[in-house]
Amino acid sequence: MATRSNGTASDRGEVEVLESLQFTDEIQHLMSAPTTDNAGFFTALLELPAPQAVQLLHSPESAKLIAAPVPNVEDFKGSFHFPSNSGLIERAARFSVFAGEGNNNTKKSNSPETTSNISSANLEKAVKSEPAESESSQPLVSDPTVEKRSIKRKDREKKVKESKKKSKTAANESSEDAEKLPYVHVRARRGQATDSHSLAERARREKINARMKLLQELVPGCNKISGTALVLDEIINHVQSLQHQVEFLSMRLAAVNPRIDFNLDSIFTAESGSIIDCNFPSMVMPMMWPEVQVNGNRQQYQQQWHFDALQQPVWGREEVCNNYITPENSLLSYDSSTNSVTLHSNQLKMEL
């Protein structure tokens, strides 16, 4: 009987009615197995053949159905043993644990293995929690268990979650997946709410924390600070200091400028030289370095400015800068030669 139902289950996993029937058949099977304690029940479950275990896992929809299995289950009211009740509930917990994974990873081979890995710890927790519930009302156990399964799935998953680290990581993944599923298979960590709002907020918080880490790397001296509030303070101070520095430097430029003739030739040479001499690890592109190494010092620049051969490959890449040349030429009326200026500007842009 059980094998027949299992066979049908493996063939059409999505038919709800059949699965509900299978579920009841499994309940019968469970009850037939003599079990008196949790450990024994666990082994009884494990002794189930692989297809049955698979089918157990892949009938999560049956756990959600309240109507169909109820009348059948009630027949077994009288002969319901305590371990069988807990077994039902455990399996329901396991179903829900793997419901998300089962929907996403349709690997039947993996599920029984994972069941065995995680089910041990889960069973310990679930069984300990469930006896209190099931012991309360034996005759009504069928209805509340079936309903409790759907309603309290989240609570069980909570307890399931805190059992193992493996389940925790699986929970994190499945919580991400759960958001996409039609059913809200929430993976809540201990002490956290399980509604979709807090899930979304938790995802948001993780994003924010990731960005805070990036900011910490950007701002010097922020890596040692722990605590997000202090890091934010540090970031705010850094931004303020940078803005003040810009103001000070523009003030200095305003004061300094009148003294010196604004000669673009010398500026460009100095600019290219000084910028290349300094080290801008984050800014300078590695592609520029071969050019830089060729032009060692300023004197080499001045020599190479007259070499058209060198300029040929330079010009080829400098399509954008050609647009800059004409307005600069119009402005630089006091320059010696427009050619040298264009060469300088191109060279500068190349160096940068």
Binding site: A229, L242, V246, L249, V256, L264, M285, L331, L352
Partner: protein, 173 residues
């Protein structure tokens, strides 16, 4: 940097330097290089600061919210300067009311956040306001994007400071 992937020669640094130097020449050409009076220097300082911010923002090419906000601010400011006094007031009030609307929206969002999140998020919110004031265009952004913008803004500000310091050092030699 995103720009560097496209064309290594047109990096942020080169774009900023060319634009800024061009603006500097324009400023110097417009005003005679005479003034020792502090007022003149202050005017130059303001112009140079505006030129620096503008050249940095246009080097980023409005790919970022803060650059768009800076350019918008500068352009509206220049429009205000060109317009008459009466028009200036009306434009100012319109900008102020739009800003207030944005602030109201963000404060409303912030209230929702504080009621639902943990305590350390409250601290976030208090400091996020400060950050919003600092980063241009930060008023109308949620915390996540704000942190993104802040990171890019810090990068660009560092570049700007380094290049300006080079220019100043060159001049003061």
């Amino acid at each position: 940097m995103n720009s560097s992937h496209l064309n290594p020669s047109s990096s942020l640094k080169s774009r900023f330097t060319t634009r800024f130097l061009r603006a500097l020449t324009r400023i110097n050409a417009r005003k005679p290089i005479s003034p020792s009076s502090p007022r003149e220097i202050f005017q130059r300082y303001r112009r140079i600061k505006v030129a620096a911010d503008k050249s940095m923002a246009s080097s980023v090419r409005s790919r970022r919210t803060w650059s768009r906000a800076t350019l918008w601010k500068l352009r509206s400011r220049s429009c205000l300067q060109l317009a008459s006094l009466g028009r200036r007031r009306s434009v100012k009030t319109s900008t102020i009311t739009s800003r207030q609307a944005i602030m109201k929206k963000t404060s409303h969002e912030i209230e929702n956040k504080t009621t639902t999140e943990e305590d350390h998020q409250d601290r976030f919110v208090g400091q996020a306001d400060k950050l919003r004031e600092l980063v241009p265009g930060g008023e109308a952004m949620d915390l996540c994007n704000l942190l993104d913008e802040t990171a890019h803004y810090i990068k660009c500000l560092t570049t700007q400071v380094q290049l300006m310091r080079k220019i100043v050092d060159f001049y003061s030699l």
